[in-house]
């Protein structure tokens, strides 16, 4: 287990170091989120009552679209110079490779989300700090869901020519339960409603989703990468 974690962290550190040098995915995701948030702020009246009702939905749509941009690069960067072959041939199991990449993507997506959140608050007049810690918990859980599925399908679509198109096509339908939970909880929390027995079911959905899809990805990633 210690070796597995060590190898996962080596892969995660490598991915983050590469990303911080090129900033390809980070810049693309951040720019995309900012543009969408600004454009939507022109489409809707930020001072209206309705904004509270769809704030969670809007925020998670931006996060999931921006996330797809970053996740697309995850395994695609391994295709340059056939780096994936050297990783698969190394003693690190495919599951450690997956977990390492997922951890790096997780950090990247959380950074994009945490930078976008205050911008969202400013443009839409939403008080995102009033339930900050529960909101952070929802973001951590839902982002892991997005990361797990996105990283797995990034591996699955890495050899496809239309991978930029295929990844969102495959990921979003699977993400529906997690996105529904994240949107509902985020709307409640941004509206000032704390976590309560009524909306806790959605938190459980997120936890179950994370657990199930992480386990499935770890089990099947070797088949996906090696065949």
């Amino acid at each position: 287990m210690a070796a597995f974690l060590r190898q996962s962290l080596i892969i995660a550190a490598k991915d983050l170091r590469s990303e911080l040098r090129t900033k390809e995915a980070l810049n693309a995701s951040l720019a995309f989120s900012m543009v969408i948030l600004v454009l939507f702020s022109f489409a809707f009246d930020p001072s209206s009552e309705q904004i509270q009702e769809f704030s969670g939905g809007l925020l998670w749509l931006v996060y999931s679209f921006a996330g797809a941009l970053a996740l697309n690069r995850s395994f695609a960067r391994e295709m340059q110079n056939d780096c994936l072959d050297a990783l698969i041939a190394s003693p690190a199991p495919a599951s450690a490779l997956f977990v390492g990449k997922a951890l790096a993507n997780y950090g990247l997506l959380l950074a994009v989300e945490l930078i976008s959140l205050p911008v969202f608050g400013i443009f839409y007049g939403v008080h995102w700090t009033q339930q900050f810690w529960p909101l952070l918990l929802v973001m951590l859980l839902a982002t892991w869901a997005l990361t797990t599925i996105g990283t797995m399908f990034s591996a699955l679509t890495v050899n496809l020519r239309l991978r930029e198109l295929m990844l969102p096509t495959l990921v979003y339908p699977l993400m529906v339960p997690a996105l529904m939970a994240a949107m509902t909880l985020t709307t409640d929390l941004l509206g000032g409603t704390p976590l309560n027995p009524e909306n806790m079911i959605w938190l459980r959905v997120l936890v179950a989703f994370d657990f199930i899809f992480t386990a499935l990805a770890v089990v099947f990633v070797d088949t996906v990468l090696v065949g």
Binding site: Q7, K14, S18, R21, D82, D85, I88, A89, S90, G227
Partner: protein
């Protein structure tokens, strides 16, 4: 115990059998030249031996163990068509990454030692994307040898190498052979391969057409093998 045992391996791409009933035993310390025309199945076979692809049928064992076991992968060094290095990392960072994945002692010292052996010590902190093609190839050779593997798998090792990289590779291959390492290299460059090889395997249309010791006829006439065991 054989260094490599390939038993009745088949590989299908859709309905097309890229490899058919491949059987090959390689003794430790051998240098095998894996020959064949384009599309014969050399790269497919090497990828299966390296654990990068699974056979549709059959079994591959490295020193008696399944190729996908972690212990087997530690014993293999692969140099494929790509250099398998990250452009945005430095030469040292690239080698340290693989040294850590192979859990080698003192990764930095090991990386620097191999950079020195391949004549890259002066650019050890330079990013790979700034390297010339020859430098990248020498770094790829260092990566393949870094963990001192017992079985080396090289796919077209001399293709597109510059003179210096060829010299480095030939020195390292000779050293590896003298230390009892097993080498399998697929190549079109018959003369270089046959001079290094102790054994030859010819793949023709996905099947082993010849497997055995290198013969004098092969050195005297590079086309003899293809004329005798291939189509022409």
């Amino acid at each position: 115990m054989n260094a490599l045992e390939i038993e009745d391996v088949w590989k299908y791409y859709g309905d097309f059998p890229a490899l058919r009933e491949i059987k090959l035993h390689v003794t430790p310390g051998s240098t095998v030249a894996l020959l064949g025309r384009n599309g014969a199945g050399k790269t497919t076979l090497l990828r299966i031996v390296a654990g990068l692809s699974k056979p549709s049928q059959g079994d591959v064992r490295i020193l008696g163990a399944d190729v996908r076991l972690e212990s087997s992968r530690r014993r293999i060094g692969v140099l494929g068509h790509g250099i398998s290095l990250y452009d945005e990392l430095s030469a040292t960072e690239n080698l340290m990454l693989f040294a850590r994945l192979y859990d080698l002692d003192n990764p930095r010292k090991r990386a620097h030692a191999w950079l020195e052996r391949t004549g890259l010590e002066r650019v050890r902190d330079g990013l790979v994307r700034e390297f010339s093609r020859g430098m990248r190839q020498r770094l790829a050779v260092a990566r393949a040898f870094l963990h001192e593997p017992e079985l080396l798998l090289f796919d077209e090792p001399f293709t597109a190498l510059d003179d210096r990289a060829i010299a480095v590779l030939q020195t390292l291959l000779s050293e590896a052979h003298s230390r009892g390492r097993t080498l399998i290299m697929s190549t079109h460059q018959l003369r270089e391969a046959l001079e290094l090889a102790t054994h030859v395997a010819l793949i023709h249309r996905g099947q082993i057409a010849y497997a055995g010791e290198r013969r004098q006829e092969m050195l005297d006439d590079a086309g003899w093998l293809y004329r005798t065991y291939g189509d022409n």
